[in-house]
Structures are given as C-alpha cells and as structure tokens.
Amino acid sequence: MVVGMTMETFLQQLINGLSLGSLYALIAIGYTMVYGILRLINFAHGDIFMMAAYFTYFGIAVFFLPWYVTFIITIGLTILLGVTIERVAYRPLRDAPKTSLLISAIGVSFLLENVATYLFSGKPQAFPEFPLLTTPFFIGGLSIQPVSIVIPIVAFILMSALLFMINKTKLGMAMRAVAVDYDTAKLMGIKINGVISSTFAIGSALAAVGAILWCMKYPSVLPLMGVVPGLKCFIAAVIGGIGNVKGAVLGGLILGFSEVLMVAFFPALTGYRDAIAFVILIIILLFLPNGLLGKKQVEKV
C-alpha cells in the first residue's frame, strides 16, 4: 500500500534510515568486539548504553557542567562501568560453561535496569537540547537535522579508527590473537586480562558515544531505553557477521534502512516494525549462519 510516494518523501526516508542505521552501527560495534574475543553475547551492552545516557543527563542537566566536560566524563564513567562489569561478572566465570557466562550477562543487564529504575525512577528525563545540532535546515521539502549528518560521520570515523587500531597496533594484534585462539595467545605471553579489559573499554566508549548521539536525536532518558536498541544492535552485529567490525556497521545500516523503508512502503505494517529485526535475523541465520562478512568457524575435535 504505497500512497503516492514522492521522490521527496523517499529521500526523506533514506535520510531517516541512514541516521538510525548509523546509530545502530555504533552500538553494534561494541557487541561485535566483545563477542569476537570472549564468544559472549554481552546482554548488558544495551544497559551500559542506557547508563551512559544517564551520565550525560546528570552532567548537563543536573550538575550544569559544560557539554564537552560532560562528554569526557560520560565516556570515562562508561568505560569504568564496562570494565568493572567484565571484572566482576565475567572474569570469574571465564572457565565456566558458556551458559553460566550468558546467564551472568543477563543478570547484569537485569540488575542495571532495576538499579536504574530504583535510582532514577521509571519516569523519563528530558535530555538537554543541542539547538546547533537539532535545529533542522531545509533543502526543498527535505528536512535535515545536522545531527543526522553528524551521526554517520562519527560512526564512519570511529569505525576507521577502530579498524586501524585492530590491524595496525600491538593491542589490536593481541586482540586478534585472543580472538583466534585464547589458549595459544596465553602461551604466547599475551596478557589476556589486559586485552579483554581493553576490549570492554573500547566497546563501552562506543556505547557512550552512541548514547550521546542517540539522545541528541531522541531526547528522552529512561531506565529501559537500552533494551530494544540493545537487542537490535546485537542482531545487526549478527547480520554483518559477528566478530567483524565492518560487518557490524553494515548490519546496523541494513537494519536501520529496512526498518524505515518498511514503514515507508508498508504503512499498514508499522506495528510490526520491531519484529523486522528478528525476521531478518532468522533469515540470515538460516542461509548465512556466519553473517554477511563473517568467517566460517570450525570446531576442534
């Protein structure tokens, strides 16, 4: 059911899809990195994202810090949170069965949500406005918020930086080694704990950047705001091939565009929008179990 879709409307939808997809991509990278190294679905990632949004909210709206100071503090605190979670909830279980680790991740997610509800109440908080970034400008009938352009740019820059780090630096090499073979990497004298902590630090920092940009575009902060983006971004990471940074970005974009375009072309189905991510997930898993850019994994016998 397409009601006279004009070129303008279509272009507008593409812009919508690009900025949403880039946000998904930013968060998906964090999932992919942790999964690549620990083979763990970090269920708490969406909630780390949520906490980052609260940190920013408190910095600007409650403590009246300048935005740049707040951003730095937010990223710092989020890194601390992510690394602490790994330290407390994942590290002790590293040699335990996979299931225990997964349950622990779910537990952390559940705990963060409940703590946030308890501390900050279930009411939404208004995220401070950044008029410079949110006041739209118009090209013809197209409305574009500057933040919608900033998001893909930031996502692209961070992805490139990350790829450089992974491929060219010593830490990146260590990460790749741990990802390929945990035990051998250990024997090679790589400091596993350090590498894993760094991974969580980077993943959390990306979640923080994602949260700041997300809230600029969707300015309300809620304890459960991380749940749905968290799930969707994990799916984005799987679509692209989990463990692969470029794949996460690709997956994020695919997901963002599919959601928006489904709404655009099938307005009657908008109620099913949240289901689309899962439908794509199942299709991908059926036909490309390793995602679009993922490598086949062989189990050792």
Partner: protein
C-alpha cells in the same frame, strides 16, 4: 527381564516410601484446597504454574543444554489459545468492541481441558518452526533467536486485532481457582518429566548437554534429539501459559514481555540446571519470595521511614540475588542432583558425621 518387577505389588514394595509420600502429598493438596484463603490460593496456583514452566525450561536448558529464552512466547501461545477458545460466546461482542472477532473463531467455544491441550499443541507447532533453523545453530544464537521469536509472537498478538483483540487483550476468561487444576497438571508434568529424564531419551538429552560431539558419535541424532526436547518443553510451557490465562482471567500482549522469561531463568539457575527437584523448590522460593520481599518496596518497612525502602528496591535485591547465585553458587541449590531418598540419607549421614567430628575436635581441643 524379571516378571515380578512388572506387577504393582513389587513396584510398591520397592518404592513404598514414594508411594506413601504421594498419598501424603495428595492429601496435603486437598487440605490446602479447602483451607487456604484466596490470596494464598492465588499464590500457590502461581507457584504450580511456575513449576510447570520452569521445569519445561530446565528440560531444554538444563538437561539438554540448549540455551533457549522463548518461554514468554510459548506461554503467550498457550494463554491466548485458552483465552480465545474459552471466553463465553455471548460476551465476545463486548470484549471485541473495537473490531469484531474473526468470524471463523467467533462461535467456537471449547471446554477448558481441550483448549488447554490445544494451547500446548499450538506452541509445539510454533516451536517446530522456530527450532528448525535455530537448533542447527551454535548455542548462543539459539538464545537470541528464541528471544527474538518470543518478541515476534508478542508483536503479532498485539497487531492481530480480530483474533487476539490486540492491545485490549481478552478478559472474562472463565477462571480456575481450585488448586487441583494447577497442582494436578504440575504433578502430571513432573512425573512425565521424571520418567522422560530417566529413560533412554533423557540420557540422550543429557549426553548432548555434556558433549555434543561425543553424543553424535554415539549415535545420538543431535537435531532430532534437541528438537524432541524443545518440543516437549514448548508443550509444557504452552500448558503452563494456558493455566496462567485461566488463573488471571485476562490476557494481553504486555504480560508476555521477554523479561517474563527471566523469572524462569532465575528459578532454574537457583534450583540447579538439570535438577527437577531443584526447579520445584526454586519455583516456590522465587514465587513466594517475591511476595515476601514486598516490604522492600514499602517506605514504612519496620516502622522506620527509611528512604532506601521505596518501590523498585525489591527488584534490585532480586536481580542482585541472581548475580550472587551465578557468581558464587554456580550450581544452584541442587546442581544436577535430585532430592531422592538416597540423596537425603547421604546428606543426613554426612551432616551427622560433621557434627560428631566437630564434637570430637572440640573435645580434643579441650584437653
């Protein structure tokens, strides 16, 4: 095979403790059914439903080692089947007041038991479609895919107005209040699970949990066996969902948000992944515990106006407990053990030994 073992008499001789126990249990339920008030009755009913659903989850997650998070979705299917088919025809126009019920359903009303079983079967059918792609995949993908499916089910139920009444949900479902419905079903399902787990099929489930590659090399078909366990689990969960709908008298999609599954996860982790008795105990502990911890949400706990006691604290404490169990008591209450007579006798012996040893050691210290 020894012929006498087949006779009832011989069986009773061998398991007389269990038989006596069963009789006591039935009398206990009967007494409870007569004497408890409706609040307690509701809680006890909820406990039994949690036993059913948790047991189903443990069959898949604990015994077969397949990490599935689709409980909420399967419950929703069972619950909606019961709701749709048992709501009295005459009150349907009032309930479906935004959009009338689809004509092919509008005049079908089934007895509760039929609807309940139909709900279980419906969730088996859905489970088959979910399982076909997912059970071939690596374990952690199953978790996310089942979670996803459970969300899809909820979203579909929200949007199919003429069948499920969408967000309005269905009310006026004839309710059950007697404990016999839930406890009777729970008992049947517990017994079925025990018999299954201690059969060749149960051992095949466990072998997959222990080592997929070895299991396959021993002739255990991975996909088929996982699927069997998954479908049985879905059936039980659907039944649990149906009872849930009949207990509450109303269903709507929001009840089946995926966080509902976390309740059951907590139960099986607490009770021990792969322990039937652990699951049963934990179901009661968690359900009754959630009620008992209500004071945490009340500002006036202990007669003190402490600001830390306010709504939300209960869930914080609860999720904190889950973390503690996962981190420090990874095996839960029972591990993979069962509370059998032998097990209890052993425990009793070891405690006795410990006590007597302590005694002697203190005596020794006194000299």
């Amino acid at each position: 095979m020894n012929e006498t073992q087949n006779s009832l008499g011989a069986y009773l001789k061998l398991h007389w403790k269990t038989a006596v126990f069963l009789v006591v249990l039935l009398i206990g339920i009967g007494l409870a059914d007569i004497f408890v008030d409706s609040y307690m009755r509701r809680l006890l009913n909820l406990c039994a439903i949690y036993v059913i659903v948790s047991l189903a989850m443990n069959l898949v997650n604990g015994f077969t080692g397949q990490f599935s998070l689709g409980q909420a979705g399967f419950m929703a299917i069972g619950a909606y089947t019961v709701a749709i088919f048992t709501v009295p025809v005459e009150s349907r126009t009032a309930i479906f007041y935004l959009e009338p019920m689809a004509p092919f359903l509008a005049n079908i009303q089934l007895p509760f038991v039929v609807a309940l079983i139909l709900g279980g079967l419906a969730s088996v059918v859905v489970a088959f479609f979910i399982g076909s792609p997912c059970l071939r995949l690596r374990g952690d993908y199953l978790a996310i895919a089942t979670l996803g499916f459970s969300e899809i089910i909820r979203i579909v139920f929200t949007n199919t107005q003429s069948i499920t009444n969408g967000a309005l949900g269905i009310k006026s479902i004839p309710t059950i209040s007697s404990l016999w419905w839930t406890y009777g079903t729970a008992l049947l399902i517990i017994i079925a699970t025990i018999l299954l787990v201690y059969s060749s099929y149960g051992r095949a489930f466990k072998s997959i949990r222990e080592d997929e590659i070895a299991a396959e090399a021993m002739g255990v078909g991975l996909f088929k066996t996982k699927m069997t366990s998954f479908l049985i689990g879905a059936f039980f969960t659907g039944i649990g969902g149906g009872l849930f709908a009949a207990l509450l008298g109303t269903v709507d999609p929001k009840q089946f948000y995926f966080t509902l599954t976390y309740n059951f996860l907590l139960i099986i982790v607490l009770g021990g992944m792969g322990s039937i008795s652990g699951t049963i105990i934990a179901s009661f502990l968690v359900t009754l515990g959630q009620e008992a911890l209500r004071f945490l949400d009340e500002p006036m706990a202990f007669g003190l106006d402490l600001p830390i006691f306010r709504p939300g604290l209960r869930m914080v404490v609860f999720s904190f407990l889950l973390m503690i169990i996962v981190l420090f008591y990874r095996k839960g209450l029972m591990g993979t053990n069962e509370l059998t007579w032998d097990f209890m006798a052993q425990k009793f012996q070891s405690i006795k030994k410990k006590l007597s040893r302590k005694k002697t050691s203190t005596e020794g210290g006194g000299k």
